[in-house]
Amino acid sequence: MSLIGPLLLATFLFCVGVYGLIARRNAVLVLISVELMLVSVNINLVAFQNLLFPGAEAVHGQMFALFIIAVAAAEAGVGLAIIFNLFRNRATVNVDDVDLMRW
């Protein structure tokens, strides 16, 4: 089985995530970009499981992917809560406007 397809997809998704993280102004889209990066990692984990241990009883790759999905959900929850609070207080979700912690 060739890995080139999933790996290319994962790389593409990761790069899109990194770009979105750095370049997007909307905080929700930044959060979505982070999710994209996590998803690309999940694709890598599942692909390598099937390459290294095909048909094995123990599915460590998939297990890690499940953990990451759970953590990503929690992270999205916390992140959205922050964004809600931000919007309530400042009436904006533009990350460029959120620079209270500057010098």
């Binding site: 990194v18 930044v30 990350v95 912690m101 010098w103």
Partner: protein, 698 residues
């Protein structure tokens, strides 16, 4: 009963304590501190009586010595801080504390309402301490300390009324004149101690050791003559001997109780005391004794003559003090140790009495001058009879204290003359002549003060009990103290036995050739030293016997002098005071033989106008220049250091570090933009760099 002598130091230190206490909180007390002084003096007085009792009851006492030793220099050289209690010390304790106590009580009334009353009492106590320190000292160095303290207190009390320039001058004169002699004293003490150090002792200042070494012939003649003559110079100035007596009459500027305490009864006797202490040393040299005797004889006669022309009652008494001190010094010079200190003892009482009596009179008429008194017998009966007793004692009227003690001196001179010493004859005959002078001027004073009409502008009245009681006690002592050494006193318990220390007992006169003089008799007052044919001296203790020939002469002299004085002054102040109309003699006496003028012309003026200017110049220009130059150089060096090292290097470093930190932080802080996406970008970039770096290293 060793215990009481162990406490002798308390007698000395208690007055110091009371002086400090009076100075510290005397002003808050109801009696303004006087009660503290009187209480302390009363305790020391009782203790002195106890010590005297214990010392004297032992016959000729062994000296009792205790000392702390201090050896800061090493090399077997020890300074001592100690006490020496023998008959002489006990006698001086009695005299000083008695007179001081009387003066303390008397001053309560006399000084009432004066400014600085508390200060006055503090000084009185301090003075008493100083004198007792001199008396108790077991070494000459400590004695010098007491001696100088006495001089200081004298200065402070003479200048007590310092608002008047003349009183300041008198205080300065007293201080500088005595200081001149003190230089001699200190050098003399050093000469003696250097000689002592040569004998290998570790305590060269110890008085007993010095006496013992001198009698054993361990000290060279040069040491003894030079040392004792220099010490005698100190005694000359302190005890008012000619020609350094000039300060004593001026010292009458102080309050009268001070004159009684310091300038009559106790302080001026310091010189005689010191000579008595070192008597065994000075007895080694005929030269020293001759010098002492001649100075004493000159003083006792010429000092007495000066009293004839005085109008100030206190000055009459001051010159009589000079004269009586001359008697004591002369007695020392003719071997009359006992005679001298016996006269010191009795004179202390009756001169204190006379001064306190004079104070009582001055208090009543507000003037020192006898021409302002007169007719005081009726209004002041107690002062009158006590003053008369004091005058009789001073004039040596038979059966008073002065009679017994002064006759001892004359007899000592006679016995010394019997050994072929001319000075003995001088003391005997000049002493007799001066007795006539003494009687005359005291009779003159008594007639001028008590007889005739009241010439004062006040209505005099008797002083209060606090002034009269001391007068009465001193009057009793002025008679009674003479019987301690008289034909009436006990063979075993008499003044001569008490005060003869073992050193004086063994004192010898090596310059007398016993064999040549054929076993003659030498006098130490009532004590006679018999030189046997083999050259050994033995001591014959005993009380004096009647010398009826001398008694007859004394009576005739007394009667003649009183009669003469009565002729002139019996009816009060004459129009022409005979003593002031003796032509050239009066001129000489009024000008005090020119001592003051001479001293002013040839000592004060050159010192003030020339030496002082040079000293000022050398001080202002040379020494100040050196000091100022050193100061300026230091200042410049410090300024240069400040500008270069401190400002540039150190401050530059510190400030530079601070500035560079500020500059850098100002730039670096901009990284902290607060923009999350920049952080994320930096994170990604960092990761890429890290991954590439690891890959390159692989």
């Amino acid at each position: 009963m060793e215990s009481l002598l162990e406490l002798a130091w308390v007698v000395t230190l208690l007055p110091l304590l009371s002086a400090a206490a009076i100075a510290a909180f005397g002003k808050q007390l109801p009696g303004k501190g006087s009660e503290l002084g009187i209480a302390a003096l009363a305790i020391t007085w009782l203790l002195s009586i106890g010590i005297a009792w214990q010392t004297f009851s032992a016959g000729t006492p062994e000296p009792f010595e205790r000392a702390f030793e201090w050896s800061p220099l090493g090399g077997g050289f020890i300074f001592e801080l100690g006490m020496l209690v023998d008959g002489l010390t006990a006698m001086m304790f009695l005299l000083v504390t008695t007179v001081s106590l009387m003066v303390h009580i008397y001053s309560r009334e006399y000084m009432k309402g004066e400014p600085r009353f508390t200060y006055f009492y503090a000084m009185l106590s301090l003075f008493t301490f100083s004198m007792l320190l001199l008396v108790i000292a077991n070494n000459t160095l400590l004695a010098v300390v007491g001696w100088e303290l006495v001089g200081l207190c004298s200065f402070l009390l003479i200048g007590f009324y310092w608002e008047d320039k003349s009183n300041q001058d008198a205080a300065n004169k007293a201080f500088l004149t005595t200081k001149f002699g003190d230089v001699g004293l200190i050098v003399g003490v050093i000469v003696l101690s250097a000689g002592m150090f040569g004998t290998g002792t570790s305590t060269p200042f110890n008085i007993q050791e010095t006496n013992a070494a001198a009698m054993a012939g361990e000290l060279s003649t040069g040491t003894i003559v030079l040392g004792m003559l220099l010490i005698f110079l100190g005694c000359v100035s302190k005890s008012g001997q000619m020609p350094l007596h000039v300060w004593l009459p001026d010292a009458m500027a102080g309050p009268t109780p001070v004159s009684a305490l310091i300038h009559a009864a106790t302080m001026v006797t310091a010189g005689i005391f010191l000579l008595a202490r070192l008597f065994p040393v000075l007895a080694q040299s005929a030269t020293v004794m001759a010098v002492i005797a001649i100075v004493g004889v000159i003083t006792l006669f010429f000092g007495g003559l000066l009293a004839l022309v005085q109008d100030d009652l206190k000055k009459v008494l001051a010159y009589s003090t000079v004269s009586q001190l001359g008697y004591m010094i002369a007695a020392i010079g003719v071997g009359g140790y006992t005679a001298s200190i016996f006269h010191l003892f009795t004179h202390g009482f009756f001169k204190a009495l006379l001064f306190l009596g004079a104070g009582s009179l001055i208090h009543a008429v507000h003037s020192n001058n006898m021409s302002d008194m007169g007719g005081m017998r009726k209004p002041m009966p107690h002062t009158f009879w006590t003053f008369i007793i004091g005058s009789l004692a001073l004039a040596g009227f038979p059966l008073t204290a002065g009679f017994f003690s002064k006759d001892e001196i004359l007899i000592a001179g006679d016995l010394w003359a019997g050994q072929g010493f001319m000075t003995g004859n001088l003391v005997y005959w000049v002493g007799l002549a001066a007795a006539f002078v003494t009687t005359f001027y005291m009779a003159r004073a008594c007639f001028l003060v008590f007889a005739g009409e009241n010439r004062s502008h006040h209505a005099p009245h008797e002083s209060g009990p606090q002034m009269v009681a001391p007068l009465m006690l001193l009057a009793v002592l002025s008679i009674a103290s003479g019987y301690l050494l008289s034909p009436f006193s006990s063979q075993e318990f008499n003044f001569e036995n008490w005060t003869a220390t073992p050193f004086v007992e063994d004192a010898t006169y090596p310059f007398i050739d016993a064999e040549a003089s054929g076993g003659g008799v030498l006098a130490a007052g009532g004590q006679s030293i018999m030189a046997a044919a083999d050259g050994e001296f033995t001591i014959l203790h005993g009380v004096p016997t009647w010398h009826f020939d001398l008694l007859a002469i004394v009576l005739v002299v007394f009667a003649a002098a009183v009669f003469l004085a009565y002729r002139f002054y019996g009816k009060g102040l004459p129009e022409r005071d005979p003593t002031l109309n003796m032509g050239a003699a009066t001129t000489v006496l009024v000008n005090k033989y020119g001592f003051d003028a001479f001293g002013y012309r040839y000592i004060v003026v050159p010192v003030r106008d020339t030496l002082a200017k040079w000293a000022t110049w050398s001080s202002n220009v040379v020494i100040d220049g050196m000091v100022a130059g050193a100061g300026r150089a230091t200042k410049n060096a410090a300024f240069a250091t400040y500008r270069v090292l401190d400002q540039r290097v150190i401050d530059g470093g510190v400030n530079g570090a601070a500035f560079s930190a500020a500059w850098w932080s100002d730039r670096l802080k901009r990284i902290q933009s607060g923009d999350v996406q920049r952080y994320a970008g930096a994170l990604v970039a960092g990761t890429i760099v890290l991954v590439l770096a690891i890959a390159a290293v692989r």
